[in-house]
Symmetry: C2
Subunit: 230 residues, 2 copies
Amino acid sequence: MSESLRIVPQPMRRQVEEGLRAAIVNGRFAPGEHLPDRVLCDLFGASRSVVREAVRLLEAEGLVTVQPNRGPFVAHLSVQEAAQVYDVRGVLEALAGESFARHATDDERAELRAVWEDLARRGPTADREQLLSIKRRFYDVLLAGARNAYVARMLDQLLNRNMQLRATSLSDPGRLPWTIKELKRVVDAIDRRDPDETFVACREHVQRAADVALRLLATPPGRRDAEVRP
Amino acid sequence: MSESLRIVPQPMRRQVEEGLRAAIVNGRFAPGEHLPDRVLCDLFGASRSVVREAVRLLEAEGLVTVQPNRGPFVAHLSVQEAAQVYDVRGVLEALAGESFARHATDDERAELRAVWEDLARRGPTADREQLLSIKRRFYDVLLAGARNAYVARMLDQLLNRNMQLRATSLSDPGRLPWTIKELKRVVDAIDRRDPDETFVACREHVQRAADVALRLLATPPGRRDAEVRP
DNA sequence: ATTGTCAGATTGACTGACGATCGATTATAG
DNA sequence: CTATAATCGATCGTCAGTCAATCTGACAAT
């Protein structure tokens, strides 16, 4: 996998695009909020053309919706829509896992297991940031070994949408042990070169995560127990 | 399902966007072809801003790739990428089918079967255009009943990519009988309210279609038999 | 044959401008 | 006092023109 060494200066448009995406995903802009291009212009110090082009991209990704003659709004993610997103994510991750089980090299399998062991060992004492980083690594290794750029692209988009959710409301406090167990099943299935089992293990993992997240979303954000039973 | 009757004049940008998409999907622009701003401007009679925004959308959809400082090119779909697209399509359609089996109303189930019967009866004598129309209808009914706007969106994008394939090279001449049989399995599973069976039936259907299409793609477009065994 | 240079073309980005449209506010009529 | 109508400001959609940076291809020089 040789990378091109070419340096290519990030165009202004990319910066706006990524900045705006980050702002939305991290919840700095509330869902439903209006984003007139004027304010985006002086927020990023860019001209209207660049801002509008960037907005188009995010529109296609589903992070903003553009109402005719009213401009861009931060996309609103209802509970039903969130459930749909999780459904799609489930099958896509399942496909990625299945594909990994089929095509990954031995090194990649070993690395995936290493990341999982990292999660199991350091996870319980890690803070949110580190935890997210480890999980992110797990996905990166998985997608790299899956040999399917398409599913990677789509999952990226979906994860952005999900992170929007996560930022606005919920975290998964008590779920870590279950996450570890569920992912172990994935890793084991992969080591056994069992694509079918990997598929259902991945899908079930996402399903569990969805159940918890959606339950949290459904309960109005007032009294919210620490206990979360999967 | 009441639609808003409000007429909203399609903005220029949409027209460019759809026109360009259609042109690419129908193969009027060859894969890899360069699309300078200038050309698109006088082709659609629009200004550069409009054209560039439209191009951004298609970029996010994956129909065009933009090389820095070189501009937009019609996306090229290699055989491996095509296989990946089919893989993704497989799980998404499977999810749609499964979801339909779970959530569709009786009317929707009946309609789906009606469309299938239409295909089985009129299919063998229909021309390409009619055939595509019936299949399209099948998908529309399926997606409507699946109650998942997300999967519908993504499948739309994927179908565009696939149609690009189809336009450039292949049709599926002898496959119709198998298509009918495979879809019957889907419809039957749905009538039995068996989501799992529907899932695998859908996925297998796409897999079969992929096998044929990819085999055609792999053989250099010279001597190409009429016979296609699935 | 490789390297260097230059002109033309194209992109990336910015600016200023114009009418059209929407939302809200105000004014008017009943 | 309510309800409709007129008004107005903000924003969008679109265009045209400018400028610098970069790429392409051709031509010249080593």
